[in-house]
């Protein structure tokens, strides 16, 4: 159920790896897997069919590159194709020559129109506009109040002449709002309409009437990222009914893969303009097609993971950890506990692991892990004295028994935690050394800043580059690295995480995606 596309493709290709060119049989074999992957990501069926036909065409006869195995090659094509469709045409809001610019929001019930209206208003305000929110959702009980509160939070005036909850004519409200905007010198008008179903002819006519009354410059179709196969029907119904110029995708902060984005884009050809990624008004951004593509393919969304981490992690603590790490100090159980608690804040651990690429092989086990297990580990550490936390080596048999009794676990569990901790500590020490390798430009920069990094740097840079390249390549071939991105594995990382935990960790722990990460940081 949780297999990623890369995992599936790898199994398909395991017998055909030596071929130099993608044959038709190979492509047909992969097409089925791609189909399932896309369907599980909620891409609508007709869109999947078109898409696969397109990928097949492109993949036929494509030369297999030296760096990528066939599975990666196909994933690469699919990924590029996805990015192309999703991001083919991105554009900003078209502002009217003579203000006010009118933006109208439409969508199903519960898609998040009212919240999005507030976010859009806040964003526009930040861009130096003076928006006006218009409460034209007079259907749902107290939608008007909700918009008023949202407007207040965003610091944007709300035009709400009617009480709502079934009272008043939304068309008239919309018409009058334009007058009001001219009068009060607002240059953008955002009209929040009631949620409606595509099949509800009466409500759709109302939307058309509002549209005709205000002739909006932009009609945004608001759709939530969790929507399934119905995205096509709904998008088509709105396209035919009221028409729209752009799409806003909401609730992207969940773990839905968001195939709807592709469906809507493909069916209507309208660009996805905005992405809403949280409950707060500032969680709003322009749409990033490349991340969405990775997400739909479930390729492990490292970038999002890092962003979440940045949000959740305490800046001060993070800085402390960074210095500690760079200076090669020992990582104590105390630090470990701190980090673990931070990780907990990021969300359910299963989801987190799911975001890491290459977890496919251990997915079954991973799906059994829940946050209670983290709590159990925390309980063990909390049952230790400060002295023991700083010097885990001192934990002998009797201490172990005490800790086990204190945390309600067994002596074996305590013992294995400590052993694993030593392994991780060793691994991290090695990685701290690895930061000086030329393969990791980011690391080098940091190391140059650090005081004691000089000696390490000089010593380790003299390594044989061919050897490193070979190691990286070996890693790339031997395992299903899901990031079948053009750059493959960044050199120097293949050996970056020496087998600290042999046999237990998926190859994905060798962090294949750091190359991408650094490109982002350079921007």
């Amino acid at each position: 159920m949780f297999e990623t596309l890369s995992d599936r493709l790898t199994s398909v290709f395991s017998s055909l790896r030596s071929k130099g060119r993608l044959s038709e049989a190979d492509i047909n074999a992969t097409a089925r897997e791609i189909r399932i992957a896309l369907l599980e990501a909620d891409v609508a069926l007709p869109v999947v069919k078109d898409f696969i036909a397109h990928v097949k065409e492109r993949a036929t006869g494509a030369e297999v590159s030296q760096a990528l195995n066939p599975a990666q090659q196909v994933v690469k094509i699919v990924n590029e194709e996805l990015i192309e469709i999703l991001g083919g045409e991105t554009r900003r809001i078209r502002f009217a020559k003579t203000p006010p610019t009118v933006v109208m929001l439409a969508g199903l019930q519960g898609a998040g129109k009212t919240t999005l209206a507030g976010k859009l208003a806040r964003w526009l305000k930040g861009e130096g506009h003076t928006p006006l929110l218009v409460a034209a959702d007079l259907q749902r009980p107290n939608a008007v109040q909700q918009l008023q509160v949202v407007g207040e939070r965003a610091g944007v005036p709300v035009f709400a002449p009617e009480p709502g909850s079934g009272v008043g004519d939304p068309v008239a409200v919309a018409r009058r709002s334009i007058e009001q905007a001219r009068h009060a010198q607002h240059d953008v008008v955002i009209i929040d309409t009631a949620g409606r179903l595509g099949v509800d002819a009466e409500m759709m006519q109302q939307a058309v009437d509002i549209r005709d009354a205000v002739s909006p410059d932009e009609i945004l179709f608001v759709v939530d990222a969790m929507v399934g196969q119905d995205a096509v029907n709904t998008a088509q119904a709105f396209m035919d009914g009221v028409g729209f110029d752009g799409v806003a995708l909401t609730k992207l902060d969940g773990d839905a893969r968001g195939g709807a984005a592709l469906s809507v884009r493909h069916i209507t050809g309208r660009p996805i303009m905005f992405a809403s990624t949280g409950e707060k008004l500032e969680d709003f951004d322009l749409f990033h097609p490349d991340r969405m593509a990775g997400r739909i393919l479930d390729m492990g969304d490292i970038l999002t993971l890092i962003e979440q981490a940045e949000k959740a992690f305490d800046a001060e603590q993070a800085a402390k950890m960074t210095t500690k790490f760079a200076s090669g100090e020992d990582f104590t159980l105390e630090d470990f506990l701190e980090q673990m608690m931070m990780i907990r804040k990021l969300g359910p651990i299963g989801n987190l692991l799911g975001m890491l690429p290459g977890m496919g092989q251990v997915r079954d086990q991973v799906s059994q892990i829940d946050d209670k297990d983290l709590d159990r580990v925390a309980a063990i550490i909390r049952s230790m004295t400060p002295y023991e936390r700083a010097n885990p080596k001192a934990i002998n048999g009797s201490r172990r028994a005490r800790i086990a009794a204190g945390s309600g676990t067994t002596v074996g569990e305590v013992g294995s935690l400590v052993t694993r901790f030593f392994e991780a500590q060793k691994m991290m020490r090695q990685m701290a050394g690895g930061m000086g390798l030329p393969g990791m430009p980011g690391g080098r920069r940091k190391a140059a800043k650090g005081k004691n990094a000089k000696t390490k740097k000089g010593k380790q840079r003299s390594g044989d580059p061919r050897k490193r390249a070979a190691a990286a390549k070996g890693a790339g071939d031997g395992q299903p690295t899901p990031d079948a991105l053009p750059q493959g594995l960044p050199p120097g990382l293949g050996g970056g995480l020496p087998g600290g935990l042999p046999g237990q960790l998926p190859p994905g722990f060798q962090m294949p995606d750091l190359g991408k990460l650094q490109t982002r940081k350079k921007k």
Partner: protein, 392 residues
């Protein structure tokens, strides 16, 4: 630079945790009870199961001819909603409205002379199109295929009948229509029954609470609504509007108040006022937000200090795709969901994801929402649902 280091540290931490768990699992697993509760027993707690037998389900299953007419509704203040029985008739009409495309496709497929591989694949696609999911769709198609071959069914009507049976089996397997799908909303002696409504944002929780209150008032119950959605702007107002329509009390606090305290007060009001049922509306939350999910767990724990929570209803939106499974899994883990409400079935979406959810979590769909009207809430009926998927 920092993110790289943080990531490395994070990975190391995860490595320790995961490595250990994988190592320790086998031994510990054995001591744990099997993860999914047996479907015949919706709640893990024995006490509620006992109570269930004493208290008859409020919402009649509404068979074609209702055996017992519910008690004639006494006059509450404002409106007298129609009783819950007989709603299925309207459900059928609603469902039939927009679902024909799918049924037509199937009909065309099944009326072919020979069912070749392509036709089977298209049948599978049709099921996938109803959000049933790839795995389940494939299983159903395979089973159907075998049966068609064994029975030598030839006519489209026969094949269609078999498909309907297969689907019905998937939807209703493991649940007794009458006992498992009914809502436990009858008071226990002096204590009110407590119903909690949970779900992600925008699925229709508040609306469901309002409609449910109406149904209960229509059946002659007294209801208190707890507006524990203190996060979304004007959510409490929305619930108050619903409450006012049927004359149910609403307990609310300021925006940003602790939802657990609102829920506590609502139940307290219910206990003091000898009310039959307390419905607690909670804020929508994405299942990925650990903090918010913890908060939800707290709401339930706090309520349980006064009265047992009889029902935890997870509201799923029919348009939700495969992510619905994920949502259900997390919510079930945090608050032990006892039933599912499938809303927005009046659109073109079919909500097929509930099949997978029912199967994996053993939690039955209990109610369906069919539109924005105040009485558009009906008990779930497997047959009507299946008919809607394959079309009449």
């Amino acid at each position: 630079m920092e993110p790289v280091i943080l990531l490395i540290i994070a990975l190391a931490v995860l490595a320790v945790v995961v490595g250990g768990l994988l190592l320790l699992r086998p031994g510990r697993r054995t001591t744990r009870p099997p993860a999914p509760p047996p479907p015949s027993q919706p709640t893990g707690e024995g006490s509620t199961a006992v109570l269930e037998r004493e208290a008859a389900p409020t919402l009649e299953r509404a068979p074609p001819a209702p055996p017992a007419e519910p008690v004639a509704p006494p006059k509450p203040e404002i409106e007298v909603p129609p009783p819950s029985a007989g709603r299925l008739v309207r459900l059928r009409a609603r469902l039939a409205r927009s679902q024909n495309a799918l049924g037509r496709t199937l009909l065309v497929l099944l009326s072919r002379d020979t069912l070749d591989d392509e036709a089977w694949e298209e049948i599978e696609d049709t099921l996938i199109g109803a959000d049933i999911g790839v795995t389940v769709s494939r299983e159903i198609t395979e089973a159907l295929r075998t049966r068609v071959q064994v029975l030598g069914a030839r006519t489209p009507a026969q094949v269609r009948g078999l498909l309907r049976e297969e689907l019905l089996k998937q939807v209703s397997d493991g649940f007794a229509e009458d006992t498992d799908r009914g809502l436990r909303t009858a008071p226990h002696g002096t204590r009110p029954a407590v119903v909690m409504v949970v779900g992600v944002n925008g699925t229709g929780k508040t609306t469901t609470c309002g409609k449910l209150a109406r149904v209960l008032v229509g059946d002659g119950r007294s209801v208190v609504l707890g507006a524990a959605d203190t996060f979304r702007a004007a959510a409490a107002d929305q619930l108050e509007t619903w409450g006012a329509r049927v004359g149910a009390q609403v307990v609310r606090k300021d925006e940003g108040a602790d939802p657990a305290s609102v829920a506590f007060d609502a139940v307290k009001r219910g206990v003091d006022g000898k009310v039959d049922t307390v419905i607690v509306d909670t804020a929508g939350r994405l299942h990925t937000k650990t903090g918010l999910m913890d908060e939800l767990g707290k709401v339930k724990r706090v309520v349980e200090k006064q009265a047992a929570v009889d029902e935890v209803l997870l509201v799923l939106d029919a348009t939700t795709g495969q992510n619905g499974m994920q949502q259900a899994r997390v919510f079930a883990e945090v608050v032990n969901v006892t039933g599912i409400v499938l809303t927005k079935l009046d659109g073109t979406a079919k909500g097929g994801i509930v099949i997978a959810v029912q199967r994996e979590l053993g939690v039955p769909v209990k109610l369906v929402g069919l539109g924005e009207g105040p009485d558009d809430l009906a008990p779930f009926e497997a047959e009507a649902f299946v008919d809607a998927i394959i079309g009449d």
